[in-house]
Subunit: 138 residues, 2 copies
């Protein structure tokens, strides 16, 4: 695969950058109803998890777990502690490999259903967004 | 965690056993609209992926990847080749840790939406079920 990696434009359009990880770009979805991060491995052409080699798959797994921990930390900081993580690689709409890590609560807008396609996104206010970006780092 | 592992009753009620893997029980969902396998790690009390230790997480990852390959093989055998895998750990309804591995096609009953909560399940006929169980093995 010689083409350069590029963030999928339809993910870029609906998300805000967070500090990247070793393998993955990390993006906060522009939907304040959920603490919802999308990880995109910097591997051009990857679609399925087994398009990555074993070492990359393990990195993707561990970055997903680390992202879950950060999502929990962000939930605490926002006063919305996470009750359950949802971690998923779907890709029916955006083909390039990406993993959703979503902090769920029983009072959120989609519970207990999955978040995809439910209602309308609501924007992050500047204060909360700044808090998310700060707590993402540590 | 001293309690013995038990398959979650609500997963057991809607699925059929496949040969188990090293870490996980494997269950075929009783819904012939999708080739949909649920993996349940035999670890009593586990809810989130990071309730497993690193070695177990890697096993869960690799058994998910292997299940994806088998789902593709089953799709070929049924004349319904898989176009995209969906792999997800949600757990909003059934709390015990489990991973969904679903073979998706652009002509399936939920495409491009996720499968959860869409329409009514349709039963596997005995011939197809037997083919799935056989092709699961190799």
């Amino acid at each position: 695969m010689s083409e350069p990696f590029r963030l999928p434009p339809d993910i870029e359009a609906v998300s805000t950058p967070l500090d990247g990880l070793e393998l993955c770009e990390a993006r906060l979805m522009n939907d304040a109803r959920f603490i919802w991060v999308v990880l995109v491995p910097r591997r051009a052409g990857a679609v399925e998890i087994d398009d990555l080699d074993l070492a990359e798959r393990i990195l993707l797994l561990e970055e997903s777990v680390e992202t879950g921990r950060r999502v929990r930390r962000i939930g605490e900081a926002l006063g919305r502690p996470v009750e359950k993580l949802n971690i998923a690689a779907l890709g029916n709409v955006t083909r390039a490999l990406h993993v959703h890590v979503i902090g769920r609560r029983s009072d959120d807008a989609a519970w207990p259903r999955p978040v995809w396609g439910v209602g309308e996104a609501s924007s992050w206010d500047a204060t909360s967004l700044s808090l998310v970006q700060h707590r993402w780092k540590g």
